[in-house]
């Protein structure tokens, strides 16, 4: 098993500088753990909005389709000669179904994209990680061989981390 290298910093700025340096050295397989989103995360890209939009549109179409099928084909009712396909009256329900699909896609899509729920991860053994939801700024490097770990350690030391540890994975 290759241990995970976990380093925690006392400030967001120190973490960001360290991460930038690591990236500059070509170390890409790193993950930050922070109490709030870093600026780069907040501006990062995600495929979820597209999925949510598509789900919403599909929901609206499916809702409209169901209402049309019910009132035009399956069980047409003539109410005072009103058109069977009275689409304006179908819109509210179609809209609500679309919204429901979008909301469910947002939530479950988020879980799927992040492979959640994952109640246990080997990195939980690191003591620094518990602070990462309070005011610790943590970076973890996975899957690095002994030589790379040594190099990463040297780079990180320059930014005065609060802790550096290796966690068995």
């Amino acid at each position: 098993m290759i241990p995970v290298l976990v380093a925690s910093f006392e400030t967001e700025a120190a973490l960001c500088r360290a991460v930038a340096r690591l990236r500059a050295h070509g170390i890409r397989a790193l993950q930050t753990y922070t109490p709030k989103a870093l600026d780069e995360d907040e501006q990062g890209k995600s495929s979820l909005p597209k999925a949510i939009f598509i789900a919403g549109m599909l929901g609206i179409s499916a809702g409209l389709g169901m209402e049309t099928y019910a009132d035009v084909i399956s069980y047409p009712l003539d109410i005072g000669g009103r058109p069977k396909f009275s689409w304006p009256a179908f819109m509210p329900i179609a809209f609500e179904i679309g919204i429901l699909c979008a909301v469910l896609t947002s939530f479950f899509g988020y879980l799927i994209v992040n492979r959640l729920p994952r109640l246990y991860d080997p990195i939980d053994e690191s003591l620094s990680l518990r602070e990462a939801t309070r005011d610790g700024w943590v970076v973890a490097i996975r899957g690095a061989d002994a030589h790379t770990r040594q190099r990463v350690r040297q780079i990180l030391e320059r930014f005065h981390p609060a802790h550096i540890e290796e966690v068995a994975a």
Binding site: I52, P92, R130, D135
Partner: protein
């Protein structure tokens, strides 16, 4: 701890600053808390081993009210809706009044948390958890009312379009069915919006939990959120999209509630202004309820640093704005009654303002329109007892408004020979106060177990402030 490097003085551990009365010029967060101290403070409220005494005491009456609600519901299911005051021609009574009232309160919470997220208002950060929690339980209270009202509530699933041996479909052209879909969507979406907004905070709670029981509870609820870069990256985008979905949803929900009334050719209901009229009312009652909860919770949970005079100032201004919008709707209602050539409309309106139930109408005007005018004065906008009084008045006033709309229109039909009357029975009141008990029980339990400040968003605010200070 880096965040201490900010220019603001820190109150040392255990050393309390003298309490300052809230002022309108207060910042969104008072100087002092760091992201670490804020996290500890907010978590400590929820992770306490022993429940606050005030919380236990506050739970007594709501729990008794829930018992009453359960009795009322059992008696209703056994004896039927005849135990209520409804009859021809007033077939919509307390159940519909309470339903509209509760869903309006619920909507206000979503307005604050979704709409003001999209406008990037900093003050929202301190209030959105309280507002969303309120929405959740108010929507639950709203949701049970129409089902109780059905007469045969065990058949409520007939409203779902499901394949059945009768080959029947629900009536998709009816606003009442639109309403069912709207409320269903709204309740489900509110739960997910609330839970999704809570995920990072649940992760914090998991990591700060002292006992095994708490670790398991919050650990399971947090679903493995760890604040990793990837999780945050998707989180912020998704939360923004959810807020953008919730804002139009809440407008649609309350507009459809308005259409429940407007689509019927009933005297006094058949008006195109009903959807916006109902949305204004929702905003007003929602803001009032948030204030009604925020003022005592701020004190009881020691959130004075995070809910400041600025929040009261902003909310009270919004209260005033929505009250003025509602005043416009009331005026238009009076105007269209006389502008239209329908004699029944005019008669109904005159009965409303001068008839036997006129005090209810004027109470609504007094409490919803006149009383909030106090909020023109800045000194009154930060006066907490007055805020409580005005908010409470608005809650009562909004209920009176719904009573006016539902009862007064139905009792004066087009045909004078069919005029009727309405008197609420004990069971009507028991159901109303029972749902109030349900609401407060829910809120108090949420206050006990969940952080009442959105910690991860507050960190952003605090961190931003520290950086700004460091730059200067």
């Amino acid at each position: 701890m880096s965040d201490i490097s900010g220019p603001y003085p820190l109150s040392a551990e255990g050393q309390k600053r003298p309490p300052q009365p809230p002022r309108a010029s207060d910042p969104v967060v008072l100087p002092g808390p760091t992201i670490a101290s804020m996290t500890d403070h907010v978590c400590a409220n929820a992770l306490r081993e022993r429940t606050f005494l005030w919380l236990k005491l506050a739970l007594v009456i709501p729990c008794l009210l829930i018992v009453m609600l359960i009795v009322a519901i059992f008696w209703l299911f056994y004896a039927g809706v005849g135990i209520w005051g409804i009859d021809w021609p007033v077939v919509w009574g307390f159940a519909i009044i309470d339903y509209v009232w509760w869903i309006a309160i619920a909507s206000g919470g979503t307005f604050i948390s979704a709409l003001f997220y999209l406008t990037r208002s900093e003050w929202r950060t301190s209030l959105n958890r309280i507002a969303e929690t309120m929405t959740l339980f108010a929507a639950a209270c709203a949701g049970i009312n129409p089902i109780l009202h059905l007469g045969r509530p065990w058949l409520f699933y007939w409203l779902f379009p499901f394949p059945n041996t009768m080959t029947l479909w629900p009536q998709f052209r009816s606003p009442l069915l639109w309403d069912f879909f709207a409320i269903f969507t709204y309740v489900v979406s509110s739960i997910f919006f609330w839970y999704f907004g809570l995920l990072p905070d649940l992760a914090t709670m998991r990591d700060r939990a002292a006992t095994r029981r708490q670790q398991i509870m919050y650990g399971v609820l947090a679903l493995g959120f760890r604040g990793s870069g990837d999780q945050w990256r998707h989180y912020h985008v998704t939360y923004g999209v959810l807020a953008a979905i919730m804002a139009p949803l809440v407008v649609s929900v309350h507009s459809i509630v308005g259409l429940d009334f407007a689509a019927a050719a009933t005297v006094g209901w058949h008006s195109t202004q009903f959807p916006p009229f109902f949305v204004f009312g929702a905003l007003l009652s929602g803001l009032a309820t948030v204030l009604l909860l925020a003022v005592p919770l701020r004190r009881l949970l020691g959130l004075e640093d995070y809910i400041t005079g600025r929040h009261f100032d902003v909310l009270c201004k919004l209260l005033l704005v929505s009250s003025l919008c509602l005043a416009y709707s009331y005026m238009m209602e009076a105007f269209t009654s006389f502008y239209s050539s329908a004699a029944a409309d005019r008669l109904q309106f005159i009965d409303k303002v001068t008839g036997s139930l006129a005090p209810v109408y004027w109470a609504a005007i007094l409490l919803n329109i006149t009383l909030p005018q106090l909020m023109w004065f800045q000194s009154l906008r930060v006066n907490q007892p007055l805020i409580m009084l005005v908010s409470f008045g608005i809650i009562i006033g909004m209920w009176c408004e719904r009573y006016t709309i539902v009862v007064m229109s139905l009792r004066r039909t087009h045909l004078p020979s069919a005029f009727g009357n309405y008197t609420a029975t004990f069971w009507d009141w028991a159901t109303l106060f029972g749902t109030v008990g349900l609401f407060f029980t829910g809120i108090l339990i949420a206050v006990r177990f969940f952080p009442m400040i959105s910690m991860f968003e507050m960190r952003k605010l605090l961190q931003g402030r520290t950086l700004e200070g460091a730059r200067e």
